[in-house]
Symmetry: C2
Subunit: 339 residues, 2 copies
């Protein structure tokens, strides 16, 4: 019989792509989301992609009674905890909201899982826990730090889960440190739908290519990189989704958890992304080099060897494919799910 | 008109003594406690000490609706957040409970205060945030770390509040890092009432002197200290209480918050405490030197100069007075508040 997984923040960008991957891998999924940062239309799109009716529950992961109900109604064997607020700038202006959402969400989920004796958990961590890394590529045993409340919530989340593992060794926890997810499902039916002005590069580039924004501001052209612009490790969201499936398999088969980077191991500069997007879309992406942003670093990319070794997983899609899939999503949904 | 303060965890050990000090300093107090680790009898004792009826509300600081009600009903100008679980060993075995109580408690209080536009807060931090300090005496700018989930909750609590201050500079937050509170109010009516086997030295010594326990186990007799036993900075709980009154005055008068150690600056060894307790009680305190506990350090005491400079506060009571007041409380209440 197929295993059933609980996905929190299930209609978000990474979660929705993971939902598809889990469906394809034969899992049943129960998805919960309070829709504070995502759109109910995702559920209908998931139905079209998977050909099945998604089991979606609108609700907040901090609602303990609701979680207890879900664990009682379904034979859930594990959870992937995506639910979290994730905008760095907003986290600086609204720290209590961020800590409350991200920490209380995690704590409520863990408490409900403990009660239900469900102890397999995949945690959405982030490369942000490396703070300003002293070197690249980044290894999992690099020192951890945070430079803003969003990063703190990920760092604290990892700490809380490590203490949970110490208290009860029957837990199996996977800490997945995402690099920069981009792209979209090849169907063009789901993708990243940032509210307002995109915080991340590729959705912004997509909106410039699509004509929704005039030009891209590139923060810093004098970094010690291939062309002076910042280098990041972009990873196709479907590769990331597959990483979750691989992590769940590992947790089921091994007597321990793991902490791995999910990145490609290859960095691209802002201008390399711009050029790739122009190729993929056939549209110009005008840009302007402006001052560096305080806190930004020159170069950040993963060493993905441990994920390959432990999970047998590696990213498959290159930057051109990331841009092509992003562009298909952007063209088909110029205003995101609301359109 | 007198200011009104909200005290969370109000019937706990330090909070109840602070309640008395605040009353004497002319404040009105609204106290809230879920009584998970304290006794309702404290309220009646406070009435006897202060000659006034304490305004006590049984409830959980994580109950946002209750907090909103309290802020609506009373003209509260600030809060002292005592409510927290504090047993190091228990925090290792029940981390989710500790994180939930201590972090959600703080976050719920801050959110309610923000809504009510009440932005003066004194936070019960602890010397535990210095982890294993590299030197003594300990200064406020020493590096911070934690060695167990309880310590993590204090460290994370400080981080959350610092991010809150950055997001909104109208907050005035006092971070009080307590060393080792001991002793009791001179009336003998309130004092420390640990449930079960005491985790801390002086309550244990008190129960040995009182005949409730046979002998004291002293963990380690070969530390590089005056007599080989561990040295700590014990501070009379009434001095600590006065520190809170001084901190509130500072927050009202200064355009900024502060972080200070509340300790005496003088360390005493376990055996020095034992001897002082024997003098104060006139009873023998049998003890046995046993192996060191992993994680314990030789010596830990505060540099209290900053608190003196900023708050005009310093501890007044010496170790003999601490033991005398502890013994009076112990003799009058051999079984704590339950007796």
């Amino acid at each position: 019989m197929a295993e059933t997984l609980l996905l929190t923040g299930a209609t978000g960008y990474i979660a929705s792509h993971t939902w598809v991957a889990l469906h394809q891998a034969g899992y049943n999924v129960v998805g919960i989301d309070n829709l504070c940062n995502s759109n109910r239309a995702v559920v209908e799109r998931l139905a079209r992609i998977t050909g099945a009716t998604p089991n979606f529950v609108e609700g907040d992961v901090r609602d303990r009674a609701l979680l207890d109900k879900l664990f009682a109604e379904h034979k859930i064997s594990g959870a992937i905890h995506f639910a979290a607020l994730k905008a760095v700038g907003e986290s600086v202006s609204k720290p209590i909201e961020y800590y409350s959402n991200n920490l209380n969400g995690l704590l409520t989920l863990c408490a409900a899982m403990q009660s239900a004796n469900v102890k397999q958990l995949v945690f959405s961590s982030s490369a942000t826990v490396y703070g300003n890394p002293h070197a690249v590529p980044i290894l999992e045993d690099f020192p951890l730090s945070a430079t803003n409340p969003y990063g703190q919530t990920k760092l604290m989340g990892e700490q809380i889960l490590r203490d949970l593992e110490i208290s009860d060794e029957s837990w199996r926890i996977g800490y997945l440190r995402y690099f920069n997810p981009v792209g979209a499902h090849e169907s063009g039916l789901i993708g990243e739908d940032p509210g307002g002005i995109p915080n991340n590069l590729m959705p912004y580039v997509a909106q410039v290519a699509g004509g929704r924004r005039q030009k891209l501001s590139v923060y810093g052209g004098d970094y010690p990189t291939v062309d002076g612009t910042g280098v990041r490790d972009y990873i196709h969201v479907c590769d990331l989704a597959d990483g979750h499936v691989a992590a769940l398999k590992y947790l089921r088969e091994q007597p321990r958890g793991m902490t791995v980077n999910l990145g490609t191991g290859r960095g691209y500069s802002v201008l390399e992304v711009v050029k790739a997007y122009e190729r993929a879309s056939g549209r110009p992406v005008p840009y302007e080099i402006v001052a560096r942003r305080p806190g930004d670093i020159a170069s950040c990319y993963a060493d993905p060897a441990l994920a390959r070794e432990l999970l047998g997983w590696r990213a498959q899609h290159d930057i051109d494919r990331m841009c092509e899939d992003s562009w298909r999503w952007q063209s088909m949904n110029p205003n995101g799910f609301a359109g």
